[in-house]
Symmetry: C2
Subunit: 254 residues, 2 copies
């Protein structure tokens, strides 16, 4: 398909590379800043623009991969006619597109994206939604060219997937950072935690999180919990988090 990529951030970059590798033609890249537009365009060997009014009209699909708050701004600055337009945001309802477009939907590849780390799309859940069954079919065929794992989800479900992702990815990553912080204070390296981090993730691939739970709270071991709370006395925010999460684990496993 002929694809126009609107955005040049983490998701736009990884998605552009993956689409291009699967034989789709990226006809143009748009970004607000010419530096990022040029960088992605050079990676994808395609033209770029920083003017929304200069976006070509010959793409079969326009993929808006900008920050949530910039979506409406992008939509307002151009006539979309009958073009197929999708956004890629977890928490924005599909209907945001309806005042501006006739054919529209959502294309939400569910992963954590950074510009520098290449993402394999083959088994990635791609959540799609569209305003008509024809448009859903079109999105489905685009998604299937990237991944074997397509999910038809509505806007409400997608928002809950995004909320769950904040817990299992963003907050989890912050807990990795807390682990690093706690070890650094004692001259220890973050490396020590890596096998445990990988095993903790690997466990829930084959077993449910509930049955995988270990640690002092799941054993209701108040001695260790109290000892850990005392060790955190210099970090009131971590102490508070430790107490709240331990209590929730105890309640879940009682």
């Amino acid at each position: 398909m002929k694809v126009c990529l609107i955005g040049a951030g983490n998701l736009a970059t990884q998605l552009g590379v993956a689409l291009s590798e699967k034989g789709h033609q990226i006809v143009q890249v748009w970004s607000r800043t010419s530096k990022s537009a040029a960088e992605l365009a050079s990676k994808l060997e395609c033209p770029y623009t920083t003017e929304l009014s200069s976006i070509y009209s010959d793409a079969e699909i326009y993929i808006i991969a900008v920050s949530d708050k910039a979506i409406v701004n992008v939509l307002e600055k151009r006539e979309w006619g009958n073009s197929m337009v999708v956004h890629t945001a977890g928490s924005i309802p599909m209907e945001i597109l309806s005042p501006y477009c006739t054919n529209f939907g959502v294309f939400y590849p569910f992963q954590t994206f950074t510009i520098t780390k290449k993402v394999e799309f083959d088994h990635l859940p791609v959540c799609i939604e569209a305003n008509t069954s024809e448009n859903l079919e079109l999105l489905n065929s685009l998604a299937q060219s990237l991944s074997q794992n397509i999910k038809f989800v509505d806007s409400d479900q997608r928002q809950h997937i995004h909320l769950a992702a904040v817990f299992v990815c963003n907050f989890v990553n912050h807990f990795y950072a807390i682990g690093e912080e706690l070890l650094q204070k004692k001259g220890l390296d973050f490396d020590i935690l890596k096998p445990l981090i990988l095993e903790t993730a690997a466990k829930v691939i084959d077993h449910s999180p509930i049955s995988s739970q270990t640690g002092p709270a799941s054993r209701k071991d108040r001695n260790i919990i109290d000892k850990h709370l005392a060790m955190l006395s210099d970090y009131p925010d971590l102490k508070n988090l430790y107490a709240l999460i331990s209590e929730r684990i105890i309640q879940t496993h009682k």
Copy 2:
């Protein structure tokens, strides 16, 4: 080495299997309950007992792998003479052994253990500590037979490693459970989260957690944060956690 395993839980089981595979001889297993003692002894093809006074005297090392609060009870019930005795607990100081033993230390393989999932020890950090340099050498040679990743850490460092583990393993796993809970309410399967969980863990193997941080809080996206808090209005404990962790991410990344 001739090893006596005191305990038959998650750690004792995985450690016994690994030691046995590396050619060590498990001379005996002790557990409070005959069922678990018999199960592990059958796995390791060795005798077992449920009487601490019936533990053989010919082992070169006695590995105490019981719950923290049972350690002293085990130590009190038998004369240890000059035997080498180690415990395996993250948060118990080595000195707990000193009133009962002449030769002692700590042998702390750093991983999350469940009875049913086999653990590969080859690259596992094994944290060791001993009361003399000779005993440390003995523990080092035992540890090296299992893993290439030996760490000499004192009791204070080990307690901090254990505290960090609660965040990066036990609390992380609970967040996986929260993710499952949030999806179930919308008829969605936990499977959707698996690629994201694996990628989030894989990212910090090559990049620091700080540089891997993504999500609404790291972008200070108050719109999404407020939307998520509103979605959690039926879960006051999760709403509270969401707000606290988001605030901490914002502070870390400002």
